[in-house]
Amino acid sequence: MSAITREDVARLAALARIALTEGELDVMAGQLSAIVDAVAVVSSAVDEATPATSHPIRLENVYRQDLVGASLSQAEALSSAPAAQDGQFRVPQILGDEQ
């Protein structure tokens, strides 16, 4: 498996919405390469015929009655918001100028 470059980390960090510093990019490129080298062994353990398991205990179709239950009040839902106004979450501009 190819090593993870500094540019790879920068691209992944952008996708993950973490504004890493220049120093962090350097450190993480080395660490992630070592980790990926170590975990890549999984592909040698299995073949195409092996089915995948996504969940430890198989459960299907968990339904409940379609009834109104207790839920948070608007004030409770907004109580931890970094900013709120007029009973709503107040957020920064959603689209950048170029979008």
């Binding site: 498996m1 993870i4 790879d8 980390v9 992944l12 960090a13 952008a14 996708l15 993950a16 919405r17 973490i18 504004a19 890493l20 510093t21 962090e24 993480m28 660490q31 992630l32 070592a34 980790i35 990926v36 170590a38 975990v39 890549a40 062994v41 999984v42 592909s43 353990a45 299995v46 092996t50 089915p51 995948a52 398991t53 996504s54 969940h55 430890p56 205990i57 459960l59 968990v62 409940r64 948070l72 409770e76 839902a77 109580s79 931890s80 918001a81 970094p82 900013a83 979450f89 957020v91 920064p92 501009q93 959603i94 689209l95 950048g96 100028d97």
Partner: protein, 509 residues
């Protein structure tokens, strides 16, 4: 004072409370005092709620005086890992990003503890978002192992384990994604249980890896863990992965084990979890524990689980993949930290990136980025897809094992507690702590760690017992049997041999 109440087991506390020999207020005060004396040195707690704990204790005493029917553990105090939502009490997950988050609801496990009349002493320290094996990744500083304050208490639930080991609480709640209850139990000489996946509701648990996370009890004895298991277990409509089945008879099974008969019980030694990578001192105690099992009449044989050679690798793909998705909720919009970018446009995207840079620590960033990589186009099949297939192999190996044996055993952790700082900059070395505990999470099966003595370095060693899914009672029975024999042999609980922190008064730290 005639007796030090904090030294009692939870079961003893419960019976003295029920007999009105002690009050819940007295018992809670004794623990708050102990926290006051030792927690500067141990740092098991991120927050202590003395007033609310005493108020809960008072309510229990009043209810008892009125002759009301109370739960078995009513009045026995408890500590709660800081990733379980507690209404009106800050829940930080050991992270700056949630430093000021005060939930408006209780996790189901917390609600059940409150309804059982158990005063909540406070919230315990942990690796940030439960990512780590030492508590060194807590944004608020590490917890120290009560056996040696220069060593790690395990992780991620090092705070809960240390609180119990240092007699600051008789019981604590933990969560186990790859060993975060069992590994801290092993290195602090305490008991920790990861129940069957779905046996305890995850509602209100801040998620790391949803298909692996499980809440469970931390305690000093097997019986105490069983008592707490029965309080928190059971179906919850708020968690669609919660099993709609009766709660395990953990207490009965623990008592049956403590009675000391394992005739006819078939025990499998996991062939892949011994030898290379395991310390001599750990293997010596493990060999003795296997001898105890044989002495009690169990049939012990070696069982091979070849897929276990790949479980660490599979875990470090599945867990970061699920974590990168789960932690996307920390977007600086609805709760938690909001940090403005230093320059450039201020948009939702730049604010989110600046907030996560400021609010997440290095291990969280590492895992989120690793998960983003493992899930990205072109790599998905080789990494995440293969890891999911390894999970099938683990299930198949275990299904074959259960044809031959009732429980599987291994050392809980390959080493005793390592020194603070020793592995914090070497993620791969840190990950090795979880070698023996991870398979249970991948398979959803129950597991316990129970103390089996001290290695040559004077530090505790744990035995792990694993059982089939939904057979949680087995782990209590076998661990209870081992505990009863060894406690008798030692002439008292292993923790009696730990340093008396009370005399230090936290002066050194």
């Amino acid at each position: 004072m005639s007796q030090d109440l904090t030294r009692l087991t939870a079961a003893e506390m419960a019976s003295q409370l029920a007999a009105k020999q002690i009050s819940a207020v007295e018992l809670t005060q004794a623990h708050l005092q102990r926290i006051d004396h030792v927690d500067d040195a141990v740092h098991a707690f991120l927050q202590v709620g003395a007033d609310s704990a005493l108020a809960q204790a008072r309510q229990v005493d009043e209810a008892r005086a009125r002759g009301e029917a109370l739960g078995r553990l009513a009045g026995v105090p408890i500590a709660v890992k800081d990733l379980l939502a507690t209404r009106g009490v800050a829940t930080t997950c050991g992270s700056r990003i949630l430093e000021n988050w005060v939930p408006v609801y209780d996790a189901t496990a917390v609600r059940r503890v409150r309804e059982a009349g158990m005063p909540i002493l406070g919230k315990t320290n942990m690796d940030e978002f439960a990512m780590g094996s030492s508590t060194e990744h807590s944004a608020f500083g590490p917890t120290h192992n009560p056996w040696d304050l220069d060593r790690i208490p395990g992780g991620s639930g090092g705070g809960s384990a240390a609180a119990v080991a240092a007699f600051e609480a008789p019981l604590a709640l933990g969560s186990d994604t790859g060993g975060s209850i069992r590994q801290p139990a092993a290195v602090t000489g305490t008991v920790g249980v990861k129940p069957t996946y779905g046996a305890v509701s995850r509602y209100g648990l801040v998620a790391m890896a949803s298909s692996l996370d499980q809440i469970g009890p931390c305690s000093r004895t097997v019986l105490d863990a069983a008592l707490l298991h029965e309080v928190i277990g059971g179906h919850d409509p708020f968690d669609s992965t919660s099993l709609d089945e009766p709660v395990a008879h953990a207490v009965d099974q623990a008592r049956q084990g403590m009675a000391g008969d394992l005739h006819g019980v078939r025990i499998g030694i996991i062939g892949e979890l011994r030898g290379d990578g395991f310390d001599r001192g750990v293997l010596d105690r493990y060999a003795e524990a296997l001898g105890v099992l044989e002495d009690l009449g169990a049939e012990v044989q070696t069982v091979s689980c070849p897929s276990f050679g790949f479980t660490l690798a599979a875990y470090y793909l599945i867990m970061p993949s699920e974590a990168s998705s789960n932690l996307a909720r920390f977007d600086a919009m609805r709760y938690g930290l909001r940090q403005a970018p230093e320059g450039g446009p201020v948009t939702v995207e730049t604010v989110m990136a600046a907030t996560r840079e400021a609010g997440f620590g290095p291990e969280v960033k590492r895992r989120v980025i690793l998960g983003t990589y493992a899930l990205s186009a072109g790599y998905y099949d080789a990494y995440y897809g293969s890891a999911q297939k390894v999970r099938t192999l683990v299930q198949e190996d275990l299904a074959a094992a259960w044809e031959k044996v009732d429980v599987l055993v291994s050392p809980t952790c390959p080493t005793t507690a390592f020194r603070l700082g020793e592995r914090v900059d070497d993620p791969l070395a840190m990950y090795l702590s979880d070698t023996a505990t991870i398979p249970a999470n991948l398979a959803g099966i129950p597991g316990i760690s129970v103390p089996i003595g001290l290695a040559g370095d004077g530090l505790p060693v744990g035995l792990q017992v694993l059982a089939p899914a939904r057979a949680d009672g087995w782990v209590y029975r076998v661990a209870g049997a081992v505990e009863a024999v060894l406690t008798d042999r030692w002439g008292g609980a292993l923790l009696e041999q730990a340093p008396d922190l009370g005399k230090q008064q936290g002066g050194e730290r």
